[in-house]
Amino acid sequence: MNDMRMENRVDAQTVKIEARKVQVHYGTTHAIKDVDVDILDKTVTAFIGPSGCGKSTFLRTLNRMNDTIVGCKVSGRITLEGEDIYDARVDPVQLRAKVGMVFQKPNPFPKSIYDNVAYGPKIHGLTRNKTELDEIVEKCLRKAALWGEVKDRLQSPGTGLSGGQQQRLCIARAIATGPEVLLMDEPCSALDPIATAQVEELIDELRSQFSVVIVTHSMQQAARVSQKTAFFHLGNLVEYGETGQIFTNPQDPRTESYISGRIG
């Protein structure tokens, strides 16, 4: 296959997160079966698949969000830059500062716009004084393409913003701790098409600094924003490849059935 488009669309081939033989059990349910995947740095990776296929579960293993779920057992090996994230010495709170997350429904804290962004840097002690904190807040709001819309009302409650603005505020909050990876679980499913386009544009810009992993039910969204696509089905990672290849010439009949809207 002609690999020119790989070079064009995937800027770096450095592996950021490496998952090997990952299994997730919820009680007796085997939710993730033997998943091997390399998440590349400075690349948007989309996880697609029907409801219940395990894509969100797998996403949540990448920053140990499943730790809080009773009866959830993760085995196998997941490394972030070579370091095992399930190692006993790893502090999950520190890990989540490095691997940030944005959820389906915008969930700003019931605080001011400023405090929403300042919260992470404050608790992680990333700044020494108010000036530095102000700088971080402005920088993150700018990166999240929200600064122009909120700079005159930083002390208003974050919950007073529109849905799309709230989601961009959550993204600003997630990047305020200087993460290396940003996980997004259906970040646009509660947004209108314009807000969706703004978030997608933002994702594409963030890719120059982070590795972004996005779970989406919208195949068009996966096609629009990602360079790599992983298709999950019944807990298995069925196919993982360059997004253009997955959408024009998938190699597995299950991928083909799913992306083309057939009964599989």
Binding site: T248, S260, G261
Partner: protein, 237 residues
Amino acid sequence: MVMNTDQHILRAFDRDLEAVQALIMKMGGMVEAALDDAATALVHRDEELASRVRQGDMAIDALEEQVHAECARLIALRSPTATDLRTVLSVMRIASSLERCGDYAKNLAKRATVLVQMSPVGGSSASIARMAKSVQVLLKDALDAFIQRDAKAAHHVRQSDQEVDQFYNAIFRELLTHMMEDPRNITPAMHLHFIAKNIERVGDHATSIAEQVIYLVTGEVPEGSRPKADVTSTKEG
């Protein structure tokens, strides 16, 4: 490499895809008939049949437009992916190939009308009719391969185009001989030569349709140059 022939959950999608492919088959049938009629008009010096072929080309052009409009609609409304996307893309390219073939048939008919006014050049018309027949078979095989999603049959068409090239080489030499024998043969022989060249082009389009079928079925464009037997551009007559 995946071909999926299951039905879509949204059945209107299947109906749209089938409708556009039905247009291709209709177009293919019209082009085959136009070629056949044009060759017959040439051999039997039938001006009326030639004129009907010339007029019929408009309908083929209109069908191409319709295929392109339907494909644009399909892309806009259904966002086809994978096999569906490759189907739409190949249908568009096949429609363009067929439209060109229709133009060649029309040109053949036009020249057949001119040739009626001149004295026949040896048995060249009959050789050209045989060549036209073999190209028609090639075109039909390529379209059958499309409908059957048969990459193997498409490969076969791709390999068979050299027979058409050999026909062309033989006619080229034959016409050259007639022209050298008697300069009065030059005008009709030139027309016959253009006709042979155009039929050879139809063969190339049949090959390109076959390549679209291979892309549709396998997702890969066939690599490597296909066998060619047209030596008239590389050797002296």
